[in-house]
């Protein structure tokens, strides 16, 4: 199997997971973030289910040098707990709360043909480019 086909397949499974879980519905996400009013805790189970599968799998495969199709294993270098991490994740959290979309569901939501998603993704791309220009 080649890298591109595997990527497509994994993307499809990931996208199915997002839509089945409810993550692609912004009002569901806002219900999860709304702790003081009608809190909907469902989305905790998304993270729980995903980590339940991935954590043990990663643990038993993390020391390999190459992946099954022969790619070099590519893990992020250990990140410092610094201003970038704190300010960046705060900014992300605020943006997530404003709309109820994080990057994965925002892309999957293209499947619902609402033009407002294009505006969201274009703004997200702008945020990435601004970060790369100013802070990289």
């Amino acid at each position: 199997m080649n890298d591109k086909l595997i990527s497509l397949f994994c993307g499809v499974i990931f996208g199915l997971g997002l839509v089945v879980s409810g993550m692609t519905n912004p009002s569901k996400v806002i219900g999860f973030l709304s702790i003081t009013h009608n809190w909907d805790a469902s989305l905790i189970f998304v993270m729980f289910g995903a980590i339940l599968i991935f954590a043990p799998f990663f643990y038993f495969n993390k020391n390999k040098e190459f992946s099954s199709i022969g790619n070099q294993i590519d893990l992020p270098i250990k990140k410092a707990i610094d201003k970038r991490l704190v300010i960046g994740s705060s900014a992300f959290g605020i943006g997530w709360g404003l709309v109820g979309l994080c990057p994965g569901p925002a892309i999957s939501a293209l499947a619902f043909f609402d033009p407002i998603i294009i505006v969201f993704l274009a703004s997200m791309a702008l945020g990435i480019v601004v970060n790369n220009k100013l802070f990289e």
Binding site: L18, V20, G88, P103
Partner: protein, 140 residues
Amino acid sequence: MNNFTPISALLGGILIGLSVALYFYTTGRLAGISGIFANAITNQTKRLSNIFFLFGLVLGPLLFSFTKEPIAFNITHSYLLIITGGFLVGLGTRLSGGCTSGHGICGIGRFSVSSIIATVIFIVTGMLTVVILQQFEIYI
């Protein structure tokens, strides 16, 4: 608690976990979506693979729609919220090196301390944002 759907949330989470595990096992890369999206638009390396993954993300829900199961999708149409939110999501995820999948699933799954901290921060700031907006009766 209205609309509590732990079973479908857990099932969806398991699918996401399987995807992340298979992607890591086969390609040797972690499936953090903000990273895949950022690389697809700014980086030549493995660009086609990244684009294929993103294409799959859209294809998944399209295939699901053939099951005739209703798919709920309610989003604000305030341009102010959409543009500010999108910009902050793009900037913030790249500044901190991950999003809900990169930090929240891959990072916590690897027991990365910085990812655990990032996840706590974005969930808490997300909750604060929603609580404040609700005070001003903003949303949809």
